[in-house]
Amino acid sequence: MDSLRATRSWRRVTARSAFAIALLSGLVMGCGHFRTDAPSPDIQTVKASAHNLYRASVRPDVTPIPVQRLQQWTLHLDTIDGQPVDTATITMDGGMPQHGHGLPTSPRVTRALGNGDHLVEGVKFNMGGWWVVRFAISSSAGTDTVTFNLGL
């Protein structure tokens, strides 16, 4: 049931980002990473959370983001006023809005690295196209989500 809820939940989030389909549709089948030639600020790697509680950024360990290879990411998390967040419960999910499926793996935030950095392990994308990844964050600053769009 948890995964069912998670799938429905990220679909709701991605539905709100549906406009990005048009912006990113030209990237399908490419081999890029957060394509800088795309015109939308929505595919930036630094984002404010949905309710503006946090500012988050992601840094993959390999760029451009490879397809079909397990990778680690570093999620950096600050409160919206710039204080690093080291103590938080963070989960990650995501998927491909155009295909209606989730991530091929279950990535996890495995440890806090200090200074607001958190290690994310088990990240994998099994095909090119538009992907959405979402982090659900809970800390003393509150509960919020932050969503990133990727064009691989």
Binding site: C31, G122, N126
Partner: protein, 425 residues
């Protein structure tokens, strides 16, 4: 006059982006691929196949003596309940290591289509449902299956002791003393063998299971040397990337090129059939029809992932040589959810034209039938199909089939590795 002949050709090029020029036997492609398309073509060619690294779970994977032993075990019918079935019974070396049957026949009939072997060492998951996570663990499944080899691990340990002792011990060390071990004992489906297994001490069970695991590791050391060969498609991509002149060995016909354009474009085949082996190594419900014959309920990855997570011979098991941190695929596997229901592994398309019938139980007889299925995208018998309909004319299906034929190539096997040692050619 000249102008009137050229004009239609220009129109054809403008409409399709494809034209060819024939000069004697040498055909020069004048298809224009965009840089993004060329990058996609490169990603699909064997140029992009990464060399096999070490298998952390099998320290013998690159040992030539283990591979030679594994080759002989692979072809040995003594590793079966009736003395008539070997791995090669279904994985026929002269047929791309598969059997061209809808359902495999071992000592009985199985519920699944035999999968080819070439390139599977690159895959994180084995079997249609990914119920093992290494070639060596995969090799052990059929050996104890009641309908495949139909034997027991104690029997196989005895066969190794009697037939392969010296070679086994040179690779894996001393065999355990088997004098008090019954001929047939194992934890599989056979109730008599299971009772005999239950009477053994835990230590004896573990010793036999370790011999059994080593049989799998030797077979895997052999199988990982079976790799896909360079196809005409790969040579075509090389020529397109380097600007080399097209020759009969590296060219595609107009239909094949059109099929390739559809494959990476509108038909969206390359979404899942990506990378040099043309598989994303993942699991999808594509609404494949139920088999014509009644088979046990089959929910694909839903059950497969449970089996691999709890697998006796998985990457984190006592029989694996890997450290837990080497087992990331297992550690981060998706273990539940509706997407797993009746999801099966995307098969490699290398040599696909040579191995009808298709799908996990051989439900579809021809490649044209497969394409008609994907174009129509019917609802799944159960679970939810990921497919969306794609409009493909009969001619476009024909072009796609033509392209798929360019992926055929003799597989790469070290000399003498397509048969057991001592077998006459």
């Amino acid at each position: 006059m000249t102008r009137s002949l050229i004009a239609p050709a220009v129109v054809v090029v403008a409409l399709t982006g494809i034209a060819t020029v024939s000069i004697g036997n040498v055909r020069r492609s004048t298809v224009t691929w965009t840089p993004a398309e060329l990058a996609t073509l490169r990603s699909l060619s064997l140029r992009s196949l990464e060399p096999l690294g070490a298998d952390a779970s099998n320290r013998y994977a690159n040992d030539p003596e283990a591979a030679a032993l594994g080759r002989d075990l692979f072809f040995d019918t003594r590793l079966s309940g009736n003395g008539k079935v070997s791995c090669a019974t279904c994985h026929v070396a002269t047929q791309d290591f598969q059997d061209s049957k809808p359902l495999a026949d071992g000592v009985g009939r199985t519920a699944r289509r035999t999968m080819p072997i070439a390139g599977t060492a690159h895959s994180p998951w084995l079997f249609w449902d990914g119920r093992t996570d290494s070639q060596w663990a995969q090799a052990l499944g059929p050996l104890e299956s009641a309908v495949e080899h139909g034997g027991t691990r104690a029997q196989y340990a005895h066969v190794v002791a009697e037939q392969y002792r010296e070679r086994y011990e040179a690779v894996f060390g001393r065999l355990p003393n088997l004098t008090s071990i019954p001929r047939h004992a194992g934890p599989g489906a056979d109730s008599v063998a299971r009772v005999a297994w239950g009477r053994l001490s835990t230590e004896a069970q573990e010793q036999i299971s370790r011999v059994y695991a080593n049989i799998g590791k030797a077979i895997a050391a052999y199988e990982r040397r079976i790799e896909p060969g360079v196809s005409r498609f790969d040579r075509y991509v090389d020529a397109e990337l380097t600007g080399a002149r097209h020759t009969p060995e590296n060219t595609l016909t107009t239909d094949e090129e059109s099929g390739l354009r559809l494959f990476i474009g509108r038909a969206r085949c390359a979404t899942c059939h990506n990378g040099a082996r043309l598989t994303d190594d993942h699991f999808h419900n594509t609404g494949v029809p139920l088999p014509a014959v009644t088979l046990p309920a089959d929910s694909g990855r839903t059950v497969g992932v449970r089996q691999v997570v709890s697998g006796e011979f998985n990457c984190t098991s006592r029989y694996s040589d890997a450290k837990p941190e080497d087992c990331e695929e297992l550690q981060f596997a998706v273990t539940s959810g509706p997407e797993l229901v009746r999801a099966y592994k995307t098969p490699s398309l290398r040599n696909v034209a040579n191995r009808a019938p298709y799908m996990h139980a051989g439900q579809i007889a021809s490649l044209d039938g497969v394409l008609a299925h994907y174009a129509a995208a019917p609802a799944a018998p159960f679970g939810r199909s990921e497919l969306v309909p794609v409009r493909l004319s009969p001619n476009e299906r024909r072009q796609l089939v033509a392209f798929l034929g360019t992926l055929s190539a003799p597989i790469t096997v070290p000399p003498g590795y397509d048969k057991a040692a001592g077998t006459r050619p």
